[in-house]
């Protein structure tokens, strides 16, 4: 197992390095450089001044040298500085990262809470009305773009019925939980959750729908296996056959794609954060693109890539734990 983890970590590092390299390379290809962007609002600047700044920023160095400098910076925790905010990118990102993580994890939670029971019920009641309803739900779920669902949710639950706020974040969840735990009342937690509901549902619905299908089909496979028949032949109570013998096996295929799905959700935050004015790094990235703030784009992409790769790494390790057959390969 140790060797496996080591190999996976190494591979993850290589992926991150490649991302870094490609993004830096691509950013260099774009017509116009950071100095042009910086000076866009400053027409008094002469060509000579610009040239000087370019020199200072190291933009005249060969690409590989620039890349090396960037890597060295990253290793030391320096992700460069934003052209727009004139502050280090790391700070900009780290203040917004918790909001994105909160949204991503919460929508994953919602997706799982919806998908696990629905997937299992539809499998156990195959071809019933419940099953049919479940597959209609799944079809609608995977056919609705997350931002469209977001808009519809706002239209219905914020504009029409006014049960949930249309946008923004209240206290970050960890702050709200802290307040609740330290006896400052549950109001803050309730408010945070109310703000979280619509964006999380909009983000998590497609994943929930995909999981309903997957859990249903793997549950159907599992309940027809010989080992389930043998478990019944042993005279185990139905709940034991289900909980101990069927459930875990049926979830294995889903667990293997959880990493991909978290990545999908993370990608989805770019759109959902914009729809709900959610102060995370997805919205920051979209804004950075409009501002042509390339160092910031680069930093956000790097951080997202690292998160994505880490998630995949963790899921692989969990998968090895849940399915002992893989452990010894």
């Amino acid at each position: 197992m140790g060797g496996f983890v080591f190999r996976r970590v190494l591979y993850s590092l290589i992926v991150v390095l490649c991302v870094l390299f490609i993004v830096s390379l691509l950013v260099r290809i774009i017509p116009g450089d950071p100095v042009d962007v910086m000076m866009a609002g400053n027409p008094g600047m002469t060509e000579q001044d610009k040239e000087q700044i370019r020199q200072q920023l190291g933009l005249k160095d060969p690409v590989l040298v620039q890349f090396e400098k960037y890597i060295v910076g990253v290793v030391h925790g320096d992700l460069g500085s934003s052209l727009r905010f004139r502050t280090p990118n790391l700070g900009l990102i780290s203040t917004r990262l918790p909001a994105t993580l909160e949204l991503t994890l919460f929508s994953m939670l919602i997706a799982v809470i919806i998908a696990v029971p629905l997937g299992i019920i539809t499998a156990l009641k195959q071809d019933s009305a419940v099953d049919y309803g479940g597959s209609v739900f799944a079809l609608i779920g995977i056919s609705t773009p997350n931002f469209l669902l977001g808009i519809i949710l706002i239209l219905v639950f914020a504009v029409e019925f006014k049960v949930f706020p249309a946008s923004g974040q209240a206290d970050p969840l960890y702050v709200a939980i802290g307040k609740a735990v330290t006896g400052q009342g549950l109001g803050s937690l309730g408010d945070s959750l109310r703000h979280l509901v619509l964006p999380s549902v909009a983000l998590g619905m497609a994943v929930a729908a995909a999981n309903v299908r997957m859990i249903r089909s793997s549950m159907l496979d599992v309940i027809r296996t010989d080992y389930i028949r043998f478990a019944k032949a042993k005279g185990l109570p139905g709940r034991v056959v289900f909980a101990k013998h069927a459930f875990r096996n049926a979830l294995i295929p889903t667990v293997t794609v959880l990493g991909l799905q978290l990545g999908q959700l993370l990608g989805g935050t770019f759109v959902i954060e914009t729809v709900f004015a959610w102060p995370g790094i997805g919205r920051l990235a979209v804004q950075a693109i409009f501002w042509r703030d390339y160092p910031l784009i680069q930093a956000v992409v790097l951080v997202t890539a690292i998160m994505f790769v880490t998630i995949n790494l963790l899921v692989d390790i969990i998968y090895h734990w849940i399915d002992p057959r893989i452990r010894y390969d």
């Binding site: 992926v15 079809l139 056919s143 773009p145 239209l155 784009i297």
Partner: protein
């Protein structure tokens, strides 16, 4: 998988002896008859056919020009909400006809989807076949690139590309193609590896058939069913991602009437003019439903192995 399972779990006894209809794809199969027999597949095909028809005939059926503005029609409600025949589905903040814009939006959505899928499938299939058949360093290089891409969120990749290429139709096509070609490369490579060692390919090789011919004549046809299934299901992804990027302002640029652009335009008027959101939303949703229904049917029919994907 190939046989009709008469009983779910009762084992050999009840199913043996029953004539087993072949379920594998073969040229002699009448796919149209099968499609007509499936409610799901037929619904999907009809929706998609309708959308394609709308896209092709857009200039004829659209009552107005997609971008012509009219001060008199600003915020005009749709017919059922007290509007006039002139703007059946209402008009937007600039007085542009929603119906016409939605109709032209079909053109954008479908054309991008078909172009992207066509290029991605072609490029992916050829590279995958080469990787699988030739092997060695070529295989390693191609598949490392593919692995790398697959270990990275699509949308982020597309976003970076859009940031660099600048928004627009063809940037979008490139970004989306780059984001998905690897799926097909993987699929075809797997097929190529399987088939490379089969007797008839070995025999073809022995009698001096060229590599290109083996790839073209044997490997690609075998991978075709899976490619069609995956390609169809991915159309929905392309349509959704195009709309999402355009919605963010990073894809198709206004005033071109992409559904994503229309939905973005509508954001400020959610309360007063909900129809600006509803109709492009319905068009987008229905197209995806159609594609997914058809794709699911294709998957069940062509390639039961993939049923779990």
């Amino acid at each position: 998988m190939d046989s009709l399972q008469v009983t779910n779990s009762a084992g050999d006894s009840a199913s043996a002896g029953v004539a087993r209809p072949k379920k594998r794809a073969s040229l002699s199969r009448d796919y149209f008859a099968e499609l007509r027999g499936s409610k799901k597949g037929m619904t999907g095909a009809l929706i998609l056919a309708f959308m394609v028809l709308v896209a092709i005939t857009a200039p004829v059926i659209a009552p107005h020009d997609a971008s012509s503005q009219s001060v008199y029609a600003q915020y005009a409600p749709p017919l059922f909400a007290g509007g006039t025949m002139d703007h059946i589905l209402g008009a937007d903040n600039l007085g542009r006809d929603i119906l016409s814009r939605t109709i032209y939006g079909t053109q954008i959505s479908l054309s991008i989807a078909f172009i992207v899928i066509f290029i991605a499938v072609s490029v992916g299939a050829v590279l995958g076949a080469i990787a699988g058949y030739v092997g060695g360093i070529v295989d390693t290089v191609i598949m490392r690139i593919a692995d790398f891409q697959l270990s990275f969120p699509f949308i982020l990749l597309a976003l970076v590309f859009m940031a660099i290429l600048g928004p627009g139709y063809w940037s979008l096509v490139i970004a989306l193609t780059v984001a998905i070609w690897a799926n097909y490369a993987r699929l075809v490579r797997g097929e190529a590896l399987k088939i490379r060692e089969l007797e008839f390919v070995q025999a073809a090789k022995a009698i001096g058939v060229s590599r290109a011919r083996i790839i073209w004549g044997h490997i690609l046809p075998n991978a075709l069913p899976a490619l069609i299934v995956l390609g169809t299901l991915d159309i929905a992804w392309v349509i959704i991602t195009e709309a999402a990027l355009s919605f963010l302002g990073l894809g198709i640029q206004p005033p071109t009437p992409s559904w994503g652009v229309m939905l973005n335009d509508a954001r400020g008027y959610l309360y007063e003019s909900a129809w600006m959101t509803i109709f492009p939303g319905i068009a987008l949703f229905m197209t995806c439903i159609g594609v997914n229904l058809l794709g699911d049917w294709l998957r069940d029919t062509f390639d039961p192995k993939m049923a779990k994907l």
